[in-house]
């Protein structure tokens, strides 16, 4: 009976009665839609999902999900989600965050979340700008960015989020984009099934303050040329007519023309290889520069062998409880030495 009901869940069941208040044309709409599409497929009742966000445009997300949710404070969703997951490991806990929320004000919690690896899912909406505060540069904005707070152009170097996550020992690292619903759904689904912290960076267009930031990767005319769609076990091929590939020359990646080289010589994507994932994470060139590498999308890396934090944490408690199955409060309070006054 209950399973039948679960099977009947649709995207609509995951939509709330709250008016969605992102700017018209915002990339967030697509992400909301894909998440609402994927969740009903997962065969879990809605009450087991919890969405926790920080502050920023993306962090409005929980209000639009008919699940449990918390819109918390800037940068701290990761820490709140950690506490929830430790106490309620059976729940499916999702963190919705942005580039400012996760990598600026919440940077510390973000790396420690990845280090500990609780079984939670992170959706990192990267629009390379501060939207909610109306257009200041973010820690992922390209150097030289002219914004309200940097009229002469920003001099900060940006973070490379994927490299940052790999550096923090994340166990599932992927990138997708708002403009490719199928790819997004696929990655979100995979991230859900990963045991451990999964981080999905989603290129998300802010059409008001940073319009077109990812156009070259997302639009028809340039997408095939500028992106590298990674598939586990498949050769790294890209280009307008899938006519280019990536080869590894030692540790050095090389772009080859498939008219001259064979597909058999290409680098076969292996999601379990951290060294190769690290090399791929550095495909982060400015796409307007000649000879640049295509920007990879898909799963960079998955490590299935690192036991999630919440499991270790609760196993330790279970172990202590098995050693002392009915601890006495009275003897705890009395301690080791008492005396009687009569």
């Amino acid at each position: 009976m209950e399973i039948k009901e679960q099977n009947q869940l649709t995207a609509k069941h995951f939509a709330t009665d709250q008016e969605v208040r992102w700017c018209p044309g915002c990339g967030d709409y697509s992400i909301l839609k894909q998440v609402q599409t994927v969740l009903p497929e997962l065969g879990r009742p809605k009450e087991e999902f919890v969405f926790i966000s920080g502050i920023g445009c993306s962090s409005r997300f929980p209000y639009y999900m008919e699940t449990y949710g918390m819109h918390s404070i800037h940068g701290r969703a990761t820490a709140i989600a950690t506490g929830l997951k430790l106490t309620r490991p059976e729940l499916s806990v999702w963190i919705v965050t942005g580039d400012g929320d996760s990598m600026s004000i919440g940077g510390n919690h973000f790396i420690h979340l990845l280090r500990r690896n609780p079984d939670v899912n992170v959706l990192l909406f990267n629009n390379q700008i501060y939207g909610l505060t109306k257009g200041q540069y973010s820690p992922t904005s390209e150097q030289g960015k002219v914004t309200k707070s940097t009229p002469y152009g920003s001099v900060d170097y940006p973070f490379n989020p994927i490299a940052l996550c790999l550096g923090a020992d994340a166990t599932f690292v992927a990138r997708t984009m708002d403009r490719d619903p199928k790819h997004q759904q696929n990655i979100i689904r995979k991230s859900y099934h990963h045991k451990g912290t999964s981080i999905v960076e989603i290129y998300q267009n802010c059409n008001v303050f940073n319009d077109g930031a990812f156009e070259i990767f997302t639009e028809k005319g340039s997408k095939k040329q500028a992106t590298l769609m990674m598939e586990h076990g498949q050769p790294l091929v890209f280009g307008e007519n899938s006519d280019k590939g990536i080869k590894l020359d030692g540790f050095k990646p090389v772009i080859v023309d498939l008219n001259d080289a064979s597909v058999n010589d290409l680098w076969i994507h292996d999601e379990t290889d951290l060294v190769k994932a690290t090399i791929l994470s550095r495909f982060y060139d400015d796409p307007s520069v000649d000879g640049h590498f295509p920007r990879p999308f898909g799963v960079f890396y998955e490590n299935k062998n690192k036991t999630p934090f919440d499991e270790l944490f609760n196993d330790q408690i279970a172990y202590a409880q098995s050693k002392n199955p009915s601890p006495s409060l009275d003897s705890l309070i009395a301690g080791k030495e008492t005396w009687m006054v009569s």
Binding site: E47, S72, G83, T87, Q316, N324, W339, V341
Partner: protein, 613 residues
Amino acid sequence: MQEQELESVVIRFAGDSGDGMQLTGTQFTNTAALFGNDLATFPDFPAEIRAPQGTLAGVSGFQIHFGATAIHTPGDQSDVLVAMNVAALKANIKNLKKGGVIIANSDGFDAKNLRLANVPEAENPLIDGSLEAYDVKTIDVTKITRSALADSGLGVKEIDRCKNMFVLGLIYWMYHRPMESSIKFIQSKFGKNEAVMNANLKVLQAGWNYGETTEMFANRYNVAPAKMEPGVYRSIMGNEAVAMGIIAASVKSKLPVFYGTYPITPASDVLHELSKHKAFGVKTFQAEDEIAGICASIGAAFGGNLAITGSSGPGIALKTEAIGLATMLELPLVIINVQRAGPSTGLPTKTEQADLLQSFYGRNGECPVLILAAQSPADCFDMAFEACKLALNHMIPVFFLSDGYIANGSEPWKFPSQDSLPDIDVTFAVHNPEQSKFLPYQRDEKLARPWAIPGTPGLEHRIGGLEKQHITGNISYDPANHEFMVKLRQEKVDQVANYIPEQNIDNGPETGDVLILGWGGTYGALKTATAKLIEEGHSVAHAHLRYLNPFPKNLGALLRNYKKVVVPELNNGQLVKIIRDKYFIDAIPFNKIQGQPFMAHEVIQQIKNILAS
């Protein structure tokens, strides 16, 4: 040899921070407690783990006041000073009674130690006659320890580490204390290393024998057991009591504890203690920082655990924004602040009560929370339990204030049994089929909202830091709603006054010349001072606040029964401001801000001055 009966004695053990004085003091404390004395202790140590050896900065002290009568403070002045080196003597001589006993380790008064303590060689206090007013016993503890352990096979460093046991054995002899408890302690602590265990036992006995066989000591003393309320007692330190109070609340509410925190002096011992008790289902999470500590606890509260975070002033400052969030979420959360002297890093190992205004007002917006304060080490149990109970019953964040003095101090505790503690009723919300939509901000008679934990079918809802619409909990920018909600959250705090005990007078008449109004860890000093003032015939009473926000309902009326209200605090005047503001009473501040507790005589003098003015 003369045997002498004493009512109470104050001993101060002082040495280098590496000399093991804290351990010596703790051992003596346990033994005195087991013997049946009432007692109070005051560990007073530097912030550095190993401050430069031999210097004044490195002096670590442990004071114990034990007696056959009721003891409420560690004592203003000591009767006996153990000085392991010249720096320890120099730092503590001013608080030794004239005629008091000094037990000096002569090796700690050599040329090197004199130099390190900035004492010219010609002014070696053991030689220059400056200690004439005292009864000085000079013993070369280092030499005796070394010769006692010559055959032990241990290195000099390990041997020298046993020096404190000599002192302990000697003091045990002086005060007729049984050594069994310390022998057991040494056996269990060093059981794995037999050589070290035997060395400590041997030196402990050597200290006892030294008293017995040399004729250096003309007197031995008896301090009879105190006449305390019948019952079973143990010795307890404040931070330990906090942890037990939390676990008791967990058992009584049937909710697992989640303690999210970050190490900080002097609060870390709460974490250390709680982390031992995982068998009770206690979850301790050492977070990456203070903010993550409280935020993880908020996540745990959302998930239905008894959620606690703990810190000291600087850490509480970092948690501020999250306390605001918890206030908006209206989730139960206990925030422990073991106060230390500030501002900023301040004096990390020294006590102060200067975070009261921070607890009241230290957040953005109108953000009232409940505030409780413990008054003694044992009271930390009761008030930590009470903080958990109020948080759970009222769905609200609660500040629990302790301080470095009671956190590390100890006293005998007639501890409660599990059965004597009240149950804490917690009911999670469940789906009501007659209600079409769950209303997360609907309230009960206490103005508490339902606790609907994730995983409950039919109650899916969103909460957050944005202003809520009354009842529905939806985001609301409606101006009138915001004002209404601010007032409602205040009202929710205020009406807790209906659920807490009325304020009592601890000692003294119900009307009179002066009411001494204290709060927190100053209880013992104020109680001692009041008793003395009453004994001398003054019209003085003492009331001690444990509930600070809201105040007990009868407080205003109670204060008006006295001509003057004096508010002694270890800060620059904080409670006094709130009392003046709230009750329009010309309360008189009395402040000490030296990182040290009040001494009873200071309070007595001040009250006398006020009585005379």
